[in-house]
């Protein structure tokens, strides 16, 4: 997945899970959940461009909604939270740098703004017993009581499925071997020249 994907989309998904929802057997999306999904999948104008929530994010949200029941009131509040997040971003759109395509990069935002968005999402998740964390690389949302139940992650879609030899380790070994080889070659040349002299 693109490194430039903004944390906001993750936060938005967290916000969508902001109210208590009752766990249930999976069923299709009800009207309320459909309203939320329509908003998630819609194009939103911001900073002179239109952005969309990545399909992979939206699908994770849909999979989550298949496992809960959201009421009309909850949906209204959820949509309100999403709108609130968008409005906050609009206030800072002068520092939002477009990363190209339809996905924005919010690296230009001030630290406090990012922190606010993150904390906003964390508090929202806590309301429904979900836990949102940012481990320095990825945003993940899990059940607060059972961290093994993961509902969202912005980790790359395509996983490492081959040998897991560390690139750094390989580079270090390569450099060390190069030093030994060059050192040996220089020593050999000096020795030969001394012998010739």
């Amino acid at each position: 997945m693109k490194k430039a994907l903004i944390a906001f989309f993750s936060m938005a998904l967290a916000v969508m899970m902001v109210l208590p929802v009752s766990a249930s057997a999976p069923a299709g999306l009800n009207e309320n959940e459909q309203r939320i999904m329509e908003l998630i999948r819609s194009k939103n104008p911001l900073a002179g461009r239109e952005y969309i929530v990545p399909v992979s994010y939206a699908n994770q949200a849909e999979n989550f909604f298949l496992q809960v029941d959201v009421t009309a009131e909850q949906a209204d509040e959820i949509i309100g939270y999403i709108q609130k997040g968008i409005d906050k971003l609009k206030l800072r759109q002068d520092v939002i740098r477009a990363a190209g395509g339809d996905v924005f990069n919010l690296r230009g935002l001030a630290y406090n703004d990012k922190k606010d968005i993150l904390e906003y999402g964390q508090k929202a998740c806590a309301v429904v017993g979900l836990n949102l964390i940012f481990d320095g690389t990825n945003v993940v949302i899990t059940d607060a009581k059972d961290n093994s139940k993961l509902y969202f992650s912005d980790a790359p879609i395509i996983k490492v499925t081959g040998m897991e030899t560390s690139t750094n380790t390989a580079m270090i070994v390569g450099i060390v071997l190069a030093v030994i080889a060059v050192g040996g070659a220089v020593a050999l040349v000096i020795r030969k020249r001394r012998q010739m002299a």
């Binding site: 299709g28 993961l150 499925t161 750094n168």
Partner: protein, 235 residues
């Protein structure tokens, strides 16, 4: 005159040798030493940066080592026909890192568990489904990964026309392989998660020689739906 010329040539050669000995060689070693230091510092600083990022962590996830399974073999020939459906409300939605099915490709001898979620733990226990793709039978793309040196070792042997069978507790699904491809792991055109028809994508790492470092290429197998009960979202 000739001796003078030979003498000056010797001096030039001597200067050249000294220049190589006193300038080039140390320079080369300095560059190599700097490269080593950079790599070592990168490893150390990289960790520190990672820990700093964890300032946001209030409650880091603790993933258990167990892989749960909700998979139960369905009755023989259960719901293989197209047109048959299963109410979505009647199935148990798998939680993350849970085995909920089995993948078989008889043409190459693949037979492994299907896990909902594609964490490291999941990929050690079977083929892992990306949670941003849909459940088997839901009517969309199901994206599934497995290790080249474990469950999908023989995946590159799959050919168009081969059948992929996915067995879940709620039905047996068959997909016909319609294509294969080798693409970069960063190539987002390798998968389409927005399709609204039932289809399956399997992938694993691709390399011809034993790799050093992370493998950047993936081998993809694309399968279109043939049979199996669709999940009824309104029921």
């Amino acid at each position: 005159m000739g001796e003078q010329t030979r003498g000056s040539a010797t001096v030039r050669k001597h200067h050249k040798r000294r220049w190589m000995g006193f300038v080039l060689t140390p320079l080369l070693f300095v560059i190599l030493a700097a490269a080593i230091l950079y790599e070592l510092l990168f490893l150390l600083v990289g960790d520190v940066v990672g820990y700093a990022g964890m300032a946001f962590l209030d409650n880091p996830p603790v993933l258990s080592d167990e892989i749960r399974s909700i998979f139960v073999e369905p009755p023989e020939q259960s719901g293989e026909d197209t047109g048959v459906s299963v109410a979505l409300s009647e199935i148990e939605f798998p939680s993350y890192d849970t085995i909920y099915g089995r993948i078989q490709i008889d043409s190459v001898g693949i037979d492994c568990p299907l896990v909902y979620g594609d964490s490291d733990k999941a990929l050690l226990n079977g083929a892992g489904q990306y949670i941003g793709s849909y459940l088997i039978g839901y009517g969309g793309t199901t994206l599934i990964a497995a290790h080249k040196n474990l469950h999908f070792e023989k995946l590159p042997g799959v050919k168009p026309g081969d059948l992929v069978t996915v067995t879940t507790s709620y039905g047996v699904y068959r997909y016909k392989v319609v294509g294969t491809a080798v693409k970069s792991d960063a190539d987002a055109t390798a998968y389409d998660l927005s399709r609204e028809d039932e289809n399956i994508i399997l992938y694993t790492c691709y390399y011809e020689k034993t790799p050093v470092g992370n493998v950047k290429k993936r081998f993809y197998v694309y399968g279109d739906y043939v049979s199996g009960p669709m999940l009824d979202k309104d029921a």
